[in-house]
Subunit: 239 residues, 2 copies
DNA sequence: GAGCATTTGTCCGTATGTATT
DNA sequence: CAATACATACGGACAAATGCT
């Protein structure tokens, strides 16, 4: 404890947070050893402070390299918002990239169908994709496509950057008609994909996308997203 | 590290989590000293494991008393769901109680009005309430009431348990017409109310409630909710 | 009210391992 | 290979809150 009766770590966190506010995303923080000597605390205390900064999503730590100022983007989820990872990320001023890591045909996951209160489609095209923000893995997608909407999705994904573009090229206008968003512990396989330790909380968003005019179902999706890179904002509007 | 190269703390967490699954909310965990001697680790390691369980919302710690199995309820937020703290909490099988901690007349907070894209009402009745789940502070409400809808709210709140009942007694049927939900760091004053340390993440939900039939605006609200007691689920539905 | 044991909260100091540069 | 930086763990000490005698 310090003179004011406040924990030493809290003071350290406040001091470091103040300097972080004057820095920019990607900038490097002083090492734990430097913090230790400069502030006259032990390594354990310096570490606890940096740990708290990481819990607040202010910094990102890389073993063997250092600690860096983190960037976190706002990610609105609503029916008004076009359901596009690329566009939402780039609207926030960051760079987006997605990589296809798995494909096949499969029925919609039964629990997802139940959550969204839709009938289970018998046969769909199923994709697994990984979304990167500023080059870092941020979002793991499981998607089920209506084959009538996009018969040649494999080919289309080599031509277009994002799924939204594929739909639009086919004359569709996807809108997020229903969704379910929360925070939950990611399964081990998802943690591995997102390069997270086991048992980490993530955003979990499940949604159905349909065509704006015809109402045709285009895609079901389930996405786990890292809390430290994205702050989701769930909006519903009157009408 | 253990033989498998996995951190000792992770093993401890898994072991403790397994026993917790066989226990019930409110049950007491072994003390850190007992964990320490039983598993042959130091206090720091035992503490780190319990800390991780707390981060996963599995346990709750009380200084001088002990560590206890935590209960966390699901809290759906949607337009279909009636916007009532009491009913939502009790539908999840827990007990709800609210306490009035402040009242006055004031204009709607300008940032809230902007977030919800509504005009700022000139004069409203403003309340601050604290919601308890199973006797523990869980939710801090700031609410702005339409004085035309509930002219004698002060009196009504002494008669009825929940705000929803007050509206219904006046012949209104409140529905959550628009809302904005996310996770954010609670301001210091809110942390104090919720008995949280400073700079803790909480659910933040802002919404407008209007009458189902007439569309008359009844109430604006902003609520901060503890993550460890509640898992919010934000739903939007087609239509 | 005073005193004591228990339990969690905070901090110190040291040592070693692992990943990156 | 060496230096740097973060990750993990050990052991000890005292403070603060609680509950009981």
């Amino acid at each position: 404890m310090n003179i004011m009766g406040q924990p030493v770590v809290s003071d350290l966190v406040d001091a470091l947070a103040a300097t972080i506010r004057r820095m920019h995303p990607g900038d490097r923080l002083p090492s734990e050893h430097q913090i230790m000597t400069r502030h006259g605390v032990t390594r354990a205390t310096a570490r606890a402070a940096v740990q708290e900064l990481e819990d607040l999503f202010l910094v990102r730590r890389v073993q063997g390299t250092g600690t860096f100022v983190n960037r976190r983007i706002d990610y609105p989820i609503s029916q008004a918002q076009a359901p596009s990872f690329h566009r939402t990320v780039e609207a926030a001023g960051a760079t987006a990239r997605t990589v296809l890591i798995g494909r096949g045909t499969a029925a919609v996951a039964p629990d997802l169908a139940r959550q969204l209160e839709i009938p289970e489609c018998t046969e769909t095209l199923r994709l697994e994709r990984l979304g990167y923000i500023d080059g870092l893995p941020a979002c793991f997608f499981q998607e089920w496509f209506n084959p009538r909407a996009v018969p040649d999705l494999d080919v289309a994904l080599r031509v277009f950057e994002s799924v939204a573009e594929v739909f639009e090229a086919g004359g569709f206008h996807p809108v997020r008609t229903s969704s379910r968003g929360t925070v939950d512990i990611a399964p081990p396989t998802v943690c591995a994909r997102l390069e997270l330790p086991r048992n980490r909380q993530t955003w979990l968003v499940e949604s159905t996308n349909t065509d704006r005019t015809t109402g045709m179902p285009l895609m079901l999706s389930r996405a786990w997203t890292r809390l430290d890179q994205v702050r989701m904002i769930f909006k519903t509007v009157a009408g």
